[in-house]
C-alpha cells in the first residue's frame, strides 16, 4: 500500500515536471527565430537606445548574438537589438531524435536489467517510476555532496558573483 502510494506520488511528480521536454540534438549553426509580437529594433541593447526599425509579429529574424535579455538580430526590417522575450527561437538545421537507448547505454543504465528503451527516447519510463525502490545508498551519496552556505558564498566570490536585492515579481506586473 505504501509502495503504491509512493509510486503514484513519483508518477505525479514526473507527470508534472518543472521543465519538461524531450532532448533533440541540433546541428550547431546560426540560429533563426521569429517575432512573437511587434517590438522595436534598437541600435544598442538598451530600452532607451535609438530605434532603428520595428518587427511585426511573425517576422523572421536571424540571431547573431545575445546580451542579457537582448538578442542581436538581422531581419528584413533592419538589424539591431530586440528584447529576447519578443523572439521565438526556431530550430536551425534538422532536429533529430536523441537516441534514449544509446544514451542509456552510454550512461550505464542499460546494465541495470531494466527496460530502458522500449518507449523510444523516454529516459524514465512510467513503469520504472512506478516500481522505483528507495535507494538509501544513492540518497546518502547525494546528501554527501551538499555544501554549506559559507562554501556557496566562497564559490560565488570566486566567480565574482555579487548578491543584490530585488523584490519578487507579481503575476501581471509591468
Amino acid at each position: 500500500m505504501k509502495n503504491i502510494g509512493i509510486g503514484l506520488l513519483l508518477l505525479g511528480l514526473f507527470a508534472a515536471p518543472a521543465i519538461a521536454a524531450k532532448a533533440k540534438v541540433v546541428a550547431a549553426s546560426t540560429e533563426s527565430g521569429s517575432a512573437l509580437k511587434a517590438d522595436d529594433i534598437k541600435v544598442e541593447p538598451f530600452r532607451d537606445a535609438k530605434t532603428v526599425g520595428s518587427l511585426s509579429s511573425g517576422d523572421k529574424v536571424e540571431i547573431l548574438s545575445k546580451d542579457g535579455g537582448w538578442l542581436n538580430v538581422k531581419s528584413s526590417k533592419g538589424s539591431g537589438w530586440v528584447r529576447m522575450l519578443s523572439i521565438r527561437k526556431a530550430g536551425s538545421g534538422k532536429a533529430t531524435d536523441n537516441a534514449g537507448g544509446l544514451l542509456a547505454l552510454a550512461s550505464g543504465r542499460a546494465g541495470t536489467g531494466k527496460v530502458v528503451a522500449t518507449t523510444g527516447i523516454r529516459g524514465l519510463s512510467e513503469e520504472e517510476l512506478k516500481t522505483a525502490q528507495f535507494n538509501a545508498e544513492q540518497l546518502t551519496l547525494a546528501e554527501s555532496y551538499s555544501v554549506s552556505s559559507a562554501q556557496a558564498q566562497q564559490f560565488a566570490a570566486q566567480g565574482k558573483l555579487k548578491a543584490r536585492t530585488m523584490d519578487y515579481l507579481q503575476e501581471g506586473a509591468k
Partner: protein, 280 residues
Amino acid sequence: MKILFHSLFVLLMCGAFTTSSALDFGQQLRDKLKEQLPEKVRGVAEALGETSQADEIAIGRQIAGNLLGAAPLVNDAGLQQYVNRVGRWVANQSERPDLPWHFGVIESSDVNAFAAPGGYVFVTRGLYALLQNEAELAGVLAHEVGHVIRKHHLKILQKSRLLDIGSQALAKQVSNNDKVQKLIGSGAEITARSLDQNAEFEADRVAVVLTARAGYDAFGLPSVLQQIGHYAADDSNVTLLFKTHPHPDARLQKLDVAMGDRFDTVKGLTLAKRLYRVKP
C-alpha cells in the same frame, strides 16, 4: 471505491501544484469533510493543514530516495559538487536559506528537473547537456527552488492525504456520500487541467528573481525555455506531458508580462567558462 480514489489521487498528482482557486477548493473540501467526518478524524484532517519542517524534509527525503532508485546520480563527483555550489548559492537568496538543500544530476536522457519538499532538487543529464552557461543552470535550479519554497508539492500531498482520510471515513461512516464524491471529482478534474500551470508560472517568476539576486544574468531560465520549447513541439513523446503543462512559449509570454522592463538594465554574469562539462 479504492480504485476510484487511487485514480483521483493520480489525477491530483498529475495536475500537481496549487493556485488560488485550488486553495479555495481545498478549503471548500476541508469544510465539507469537516461537516461530515466524525470528531476523531476531523482532528487529523485539521492537523494536516500544517506540516512541520522536519516532516517536510522527511517527506522530501523519501521522494528523493525513490527518485534515485529509478534514476541514480550521474557518476561524476565533480559535477555533483558543482551543481550543489550553484544551487546552494541560489537557494541562499531565498527566504529559506536554512533548509538542508541538496542538488544533483541524475541519469536520464529526458529533459527534466524535479523538486521534492525540504530542499531536494534534481536535474536530468538530458537537461544538463542543453545548458550553455552557469546562469542557465542557476535559472533551472532556481525554478525548482521556487517549487520548494512555495511548497507546491507539499500542498498537493496535504490535499491527497486529506482525500485518503476522507475516503476511509466515508466508506465506514456515511452511506450518502454523493455530495463529497462529486466535489472531489470535479475538483480533481480542475487540478489535473490547470492547477500546475500557475504553480509553474509562479516558480518561473521566483526563478528569474533568485537568479538575478545571485548576481547572474536573469535570462538564464528564459534561454533554456526558448531552447526546449521549439524542439518539444513536434515530439509525440511529450504530447501528454504538454497536455497538462504550459508550453515553454506560454511560460515565456507570462514571464515577459511579469518581468516587463524591470530587467532591461539589470546586468548579470553568465559564467559560460565555469560551466562544468559533463562527459557524454
